[in-house]
Symmetry: C3
Subunit: 672 residues, 3 copies
């Protein structure tokens, strides 16, 4: 979605305010250069305080103020948090999970397949949109918020699942065979005997249920979109505020949402990204979230929420807020919106602070954003709608994430070695090397990328494996990670040599693996790794690989596993396949990636993290370079682009010039 201006603003809740200050707030927003507020998405009980009784007072106050101060408005449907009266009237709306039924209180505890919920949700959506659709400042709609399936497993929900299985497997014997249900007497003779899936120990069945719940979320979005589309004006977009897996902050792909499928019904992808700050601000989560969001519509995206003061440990150092904001733009975001405008005085997220502290005064955080607003607007036209041309794509896959949830690589410490932690090592290696990546789904066409990284694709259909094989045959360069291609789409492990259909492609195979103890890997000098230091640690998982046609790039340092390959490289068809057979560290993965880039002539800059480079083409067709310094010390680098203009200070830069970027500062150079 091409935009005319960058969106800069905040979530705003007139209904949370301790006293009337809407005019003050809108004025402050405006003075900070902000041009958009996001409203209405959390407070169904304010819009419908009793069943069928509607009250849009706060809504209209906000719309009126927005019009007065010429602020754009994004309207969220308020369906992710239900009113108390609704839960009281239809207790079954609260999701029944493995741990029993939720009590009313928090958001996102709803069984989104519940018909009573859906009926009331539809009513409030229609009423709300009716109220706002004609307001000229409304530019778009956000469907729900960070939608969850809440582990829904009520009997009615499970019945939908069983129905889908019956349709997919008309022959119950085939179902039993594919899912391996003979094991531990789990065979189901008749569909009527289907047990409560919450008790299952069958990984295939558990994964299928998680896939079913992902489908419920996608269906829910498509259903909401269809309602909103009935009202939306042509220029009003539809989006959603997607979030990520959470490790105290945004971390990896969402464990229960197929964002690709959900985004199909939307005009633009929206996202929230929260990340460590102070000494732990690296920009990696901003880049990661940006890559995922960009992938959903293959286009620019909206940052609908990010932190200003945020949680206690996130209070930014001077300069960090500005650096973060530019980092989003450099990844292709067309908006920066904060959650939220003010800090909350009651309830739950009172210490997830907004732009204003609890005193509701324009403090240091407000001032830094105001300065950024002024600066950003002065160069906005050069930054908006940034288009990237990445050479490298990384495959991300919900089904494999689920697969490694069911069968963790380390059952003793599953969370530190889960799918996302594996994925992030590959992504972060690229990030630290200043290699910008696109994300792709296995359903996407990834043939255009010279370099494809496939981490831990544990669950892969034979079609997918053939597609990857063809990619290499046709000249692509593949870096395949351990645990890939191991099981099919129902998590049935392939019963031949691993990695099944890719053994020829990688020129190597294995049938054994173990948890390494006192094992490291050593790169082989003769394979061009002369400069690589001695050894790198491995943990959790190593495969004992025999090569057939591949070269061995690295082996294990261990008295008994030393004879097996740890990293192999195979020329295959017109391309090549590199295989990493163990869970190793980012520095080791960087060695592999650098070597592959060298072999296939992808140029990597000399400078690297904490000096991050991002680039893309702006609306003038010019290449814009960002140099972002994620460090409390200055960074120096040799500018390797064409002669251009540093946009912030507005002076020209020659190719080859040596530049210094201050602590938590940046430079933006537009090539001539």
């Amino acid at each position: 979605m091409k935009q005319d201006s960058l969106l800069f603003g905040a979530a705003y809740y007139d209904e949370y305010m301790p006293y009337d200050r809407i005019d003050t707030d809108m004025k402050l927003l405006k003075e900070a250069g902000m041009n958009v507020i996001r409203i209405a998405e959390s407070t169904w009980s304010s819009w419908e305080p009793e069943d069928g009784v509607f009250d849009f007072t706060h809504l209209h106050r906000m719309l009126d103020a927005a019009v007065k101060y010429n602020l754009q408005v994004i309207i969220g449907t308020p369906t992710y948090a239900i009113p108390a009266w609704l839960a009281k009237k239809y207790p079954a709306i609260l999701s029944v999970t493995k741990n029993g039924q939720f009590l009313y209180g928090a958001r996102q505890l709803i069984d989104i397949t519940n018909p009573d919920y859906l009926r009331h949700a539809e009513r409030i959506i229609r009423r709300l949109i009716e109220e706002v659709k004609d307001c000229p400042n409304v530019i778009g709609y956000q469907l729900d918020n960070e939608t969850r399936s809440a582990g829904a497993a009520a009997p009615e929900t499970q019945a939908l699942f069983v129905q889908q299985l019956k349709e997919k497997y008309p022959d119950i014997n085939e179902f039993n065979q594919e899912f391996g249900l003979n094991y531990w007497s789990n065979r189901i003779g008749r569909w009527e005997d289907f047990p409560d899936v919450r008790g299952t120990i069958n990984g295939s069945l558990s994964a299928a249920y998680k896939r079913f719940l992902r489908g419920c979320i996608s269906d829910f979005h498509h259903w909401q979109a269809s309602i909103v589309r009935e009202y939306a004006k042509p220029k009003q977009f539809i989006t959603h505020n997607f979030d990520y897996s959470w490790t105290g902050h945004s971390f990896g792909i969402h464990p229960e949402v197929d964002q690709f499928a959900c985004a199909e019904c939307m005009d633009v992808a929206g996202v929230d990204i929260y990340h460590p700050s102070q000494d732990h601000l690296t920009g990696a989560e901003i880049a990661f979230g940006g890559s995922v969001s960009r992938a959903l519509k293959k286009d620019n995206y909206l940052v609908l929420e990010t932190q200003s003061q945020g949680l206690l440990p996130w209070l930014p150092y001077p300069g960090q807020l500005r650096l973060q904001a530019y980092s989003h733009l450099a990844s292709g975001a067309n908006s920066i919106m904060y959650w939220n405008w003010h800090s909350i005085h009651n309830s739950f997220e009172s210490y997830w602070k907004g732009i204003l502290s609890h005193n509701l005064e324009p403090g240091e955080t407000y001032q830094e954003l105001k300065d950024f607003g002024t600066e950003m607007h002065s160069i906005e036209k050069h930054l908006i709608n940034l288009q990237k041309k990445c050479c490298v794509a990384i495959v991300i896959d919900n089904a494999s994430l689920t697969g490694l949830e069911e069968f963790p690589i380390n059952v003793a410490a599953p969370s530190e070695s889960d799918y996302n932690h594996i994925l992030r090592r590959f992504f972060d290696a690229c990030y630290e090397l200043n290699i910008e990546c696109d994300m792709v789904s296995v359903r996407d066409d990834f043939s255009k990328y010279p370099f494809l990284i496939v981490p831990a694709l544990y669950s892969a259909s034979e079609d997918t494996l053939r597609k990857i094989d063809a990619y290499v045959q046709n000249g692509g360069h593949l870096l395949l990670g351990f645990r890939s291609g191991f099981s099919n789409e129902e998590l049935k492990i392939y019963h031949d040599n691993q990695p099944h259909l890719l053994t020829t492609c990688i020129g190597a195979t294995y049938d054994q693996f173990t948890r390494p103890e006192n094992v490291s890997i050593r790169f082989h000098e003769k394979e061009g790794f002369a400069s690589v230091p001695d050894t790198y640690p491995v943990s959790d998982w190593i495969e004992l690989v025999h090569t057939t046609t591949a070269e061995t790039w690295a082996s294990y340092e261990h008295p008994f596993w030393g004879k097996y390959a740890a990293i192999t490289h195979n020329n295959y068809g017109n391309g090549s396949a590199t295989y990493l057979a163990c869970f190793t560290t980012i520095p080791a993965i960087k060695q592999i990636i650098k070597r592959i880039c060298e072999l296939i002539n992808i140029k990597i800059p000399e400078y690297h993290f904490p000096l991050i480079h991002k680039c893309g083409y702006n609306d003038y067709g010019r290449l814009v370079h960002y140099y972002l310094n994620y460090s409390s010390s200055p960074s120096t680098f040799n500018y390797d682009g064409k002669t251009g203009l540093e946009l912030i200070e507005n002076h020209s830069i020659n190719s080859g010039e040596i530049l210094e970027v201050n602590a938590w500062d940046l430079k933006i150079i537009e090539e001539n």
Copy 2:
């Protein structure tokens, strides 16, 4: 309550004994100098083995034996542990909590608002007291034991809560506003829609429910007291065995009991204090518990339970039991009673040992207590009814404890930085400096104290804040801790500069705070801290303070937070206010307290922990000094009182004399 003699004794359970030995035991008690037993409080099922069938055999055996051996008796009502038949007949008596309903077994699992429970409790209380009231040896009654609310949340209990809310907030809109219920759609349109409070995420609502449960406990005590008063003779007192928050031992104020409110219906405060032993015996818990207990009736108190052998790690070193006993007296206790007389041979607390081991022989522990008994009785008249005159008071507050449960200063490790851990740092700093403290409630008049310490008063009404402000204006010296004055009595955060009404008083303010990492504080030499060593660590919470009229006593050592004040001091009205803006260590707090005492001419002794000084005025109006050595090494000190008499060894001591106290030993000097 003024006493004639110190109570020295134990809880006694004839009904637990493996064979009849009541005569042996009473004889042993008597020979040890003991003069009181506490009976009956745990064994309702012995007194009423079937519904309406009563059997007081064991009771009368104990009363008869007490009369024979001239032992005094305290009678406990047995209501904190119910018989199996009662739970069977009225299943709803067992509390329904967030985690479901309790099963029968342990004590204190009762819903104390349940009418069936209350009816049966009243019957057993009346029957029991009828049996004992005329026994001349019965000196008092203990209501229940360590009363709990057991997280009661049955629908009927919640209905009482909602009823109280309705009465407090006739306008439901005001209620919604004050509690911030618009947040996440929690607004309640009609009282009928009130959801199950167990699910709430609203901190104000959750805290209000905890306050309601505190009220249930207070009501319960007042109700029991009114029944017992119908029977009690004029000289028979009413008390309760209060306990403390528990960290493996008594630690801080009780998280669910408003002891001030409960104690109003009693004649004397009773308490149990359990503490670490062996190398970890510091006396701090004895002093802390003593200060709290003394506060409840502004008078002496009874130690109704403390350890003899106790839990496995508590087996005392030689001398420790005696030292502990005198430490209680030195804090103003008028009794030392052990739980319990004998070690239990079955059930649950078999390894919480009594004075006698399981062999029921007078062993080493008995011998030490017997020696103490003889010694103590020889000087008893000089020790009893000790009256303290403390210069320093510390504010303790249930509502703020609850507030910091709802909004912990470190959500990642809430238990190490909770209200009590903050409170204890202030108390322990005073303790180690040999500054004896009183405890006060915010409802108390604390104007008489020259020095008032207010730790973490997170929940404070505007009246309270004005009262503190007036205290300083009128000449008081305040040490105010971080997180104070931040929210009102419903945990609504004040929406102006922090700490709200006290900003003028402390001459400083802040609106930002963060979790410190690699941050320490440094005192400023120019402010009189020349001798203070370099820096002190801070953890979990720092506020970024701007001074207005205050001096900065200490700042943060940090590249970005260094410009903010960590400790400030402000002369205000006729007094002064010192503000500590961060969670720091006891040594740092000691520096602050020493400096304040220096400024306001409170004299602190040279000697300090492990040599502890306590003092007070005895019935002769003479000042009695205790010097207690909590150490395996001897301690030497310069006696700084007036010339007097060392009571134990009965020889006179001159002012200025240098004295040595042996390991785990003490001296008691009565000034002439």
Copy 3:
């Protein structure tokens, strides 16, 4: 049960295979020298896919293939994993526990007292055995598998328990007294008032319920055996696959099965043993499990399951599988069977790998077993039916295990200091010293052993204590561990000096104990411990022992506990009793055991772990020595047996010859 040939084989599941390969598999089994498969025990739903509908297709395929390839077959009754239809039809079959009722899914969740379950279990057992009993290759039956009680506590199950109590205690007052139910008002006036035992805090009651559940398991086995015996041919044996307590691998005696009682109805004891591997392979679990299994029928036993590739960290180093297999035989096993033949492609235990990897090819693991098979068969007649003559017996006791669950020696870290961890220190000390041990129950006659070790016999009847006393009086040598003899069979603590009836026997007593901090023990030189290094650590538990007639072998190093004995030794009657009063380390226990062996002339070899010696008499009446090297380095030793023949390499060895055993290798010498 005397066997003609060693059983060597695997569990086989045709019903789990992804495609038909039974002929291939049987051929591979046969080629590896395997001669037995164990089938049918997990897959009731395959044999009875719908209620009353039977399908034995897979079963007959396996039987037919076994006949074709001349493999013996062990049939398991499939009752430990129920079909979904059975759970659907009779929901009460799933056990109701402290944590609620199980959901259908995993095995071993059944209430084995449920009549509907038992009726259907009997039907499938009868149908299955009918199908197989006449097959000439069927050599035996396994009852159920690793039977559990699943914490069964449904009202009906509890009613059975109360009924047993009523029968044992016709007088309810005696019951209350023996169980100490007066404590905390738990007294039960009428059996009708018996509360739900899941809530009890009474350790005696809780332990009695666990004993009841052990009885349910024993009854279940006897019941299944009686059914199977109706069909079994005279040469077909009955066994069960017993397992052990689990700490990530087999560790100690089973916490909820009285294996002695269960085994009474069987012909031969069966067992599964899983153990650490790679650098952590010590053989200790193999030896421990062997000792326990040998004890059940006082005879050889069957290893029905052990690991080949097993769990991820267990992938064996080259040589380890062979070493493990011989280790089992050296302990008296007459079979080595693996779980399982192939790795599973779906469901749950997909990464508990079999002999074949998921590719179902004969890989490295298969090859090593095949080599072992050939070698073993060549010397089989010399190894089979090995009979041991141990001088040392260790008492193992379910009731004491339960007792220390109820009253852990360290409540703060109960799992590291539980009964099995204490037991294992004694066993492992013997193991490392190359002292082979038998295990005995307190019901066994242990008078024949010169040396009896009794660890932590916390729950002991007076009869048992008298039996131990008599053992010593009659010339036995006792090593009694701390916490022994402390409570009776209902966990009522004895109310005289400890250890009750054994105080005279050990010549020492105590009534106090504590958790040691900075305490160690020092052996006394004068008692013959001149060469013992300085001190040994103690943890968790020390008793403060006074000697009467005993010598003190070791005392505590501690300023206050130094006056008490830590280890005592007493000559008593014709024997001696050594008492270890504290939880100390294996090296310290080895010192004690060595000293006792020296005093009573039990010879201990010079060589020790990692070179392990085991021996026994074969069918030729010749003594066979195994020398097993559990190490990645070679071990050298001085052969101290009579001149004989090394069986594997078939060459003679002279007495006194110096021999070297390679890494993870062994020697087997049969004395001439």
